[in-house]
Chain length 152, copies 2
């Protein structure tokens, strides 16, 4: 599958999150052979979680993998990774990240690239729209999710 | 309580992890008024988790907190944070981290300090001994935990 088709699966996760009243950020981890190893979405609201962002929930759902597997993967995420998720990408040496959009939030792309991670931004309006919808409804939850006291 | 007494609680978490067959790294989050907000330990083995390191498990157990609370906290951790845990510290703008030891592993202290986080290393032999014991028993799990293919 191509990047857009795989990002579609991440968007589906984000949309499911919005339907649950959660932060609409989704992610999919794809192995070197194109197999989807896991998918996930932000679970702050649904599970009261402070560490299950889209990317980390996806990795958790993919389960324990050998280092050699992570090093062949691509992580698709609907929103540009925060420092926690970027640090997780570096921990597991995931070599490529495909980002749905970075207009709403961007905190780690230079850092990832400086460590050799390939970061491709698709700039999809659908991903921006999901975040705009959520932030208009629940600005305080969005601020909590990115550790901010005030609005974006 | 002073730093050593609070680190003692993190070491107790690490020791409980070792007794469970887990990676012996523990953490405690302390609020600005000295209240312990949460404690946790690495749960890779116990829960099959790839995101519950000592620090992230501790934050998860502390639950959803307002940004204003995190900004007054100190995080005690028996081992120097990996990039995932350091990224989490930066996400929530935790201003101070007290580290039990950084001889076994160190990947983020300069990065944390460059973002204004105060990092104090206690260099406790007990923390080193816990890791030495675990790594001698299960080198492959330790490598998995830090995303490495080969031994340290």
């Amino acid at each position: 599958m191509d990047d857009l088709a795989l990002m579609r699966q991440a968007v589906d996760q984000a949309r499911a999150g919005l339907d649950e009243g959660g932060v609409p950020i989704g992610a999919v981890l794809v192995g070197g052979d194109g197999t989807v190893l896991g998918a996930g979405r932000n679970r702050r609201v649904q599970q009261g979680s402070v560490i299950r962002h889209g990317e980390t929930d996806c990795l958790e759902n993919a389960g324990r993998q050998p280092a050699t597997v992570y090093r062949e993967t691509t992580l698709y995420t609907t929103l540009s990774p925060c420092t926690m998720c970027a640090g997780t990408i570096l921990l597991y040496k995931i070599p490529r990240v495909v980002v749905g959009e970075n207009r709403t939030f961007e905190a780690s792309e230079d850092w990832l690239r400086s460590h050799g991670v390939k970061v491709d931004v698709l700039d999809l309006a659908e991903c921006v729209d999901l975040m705009d919808t959520f932030i208009a409804r629940y600005p305080e939850i969005w601020n909590e999710d990115i550790g901010e006291v005030e609005g974006r």
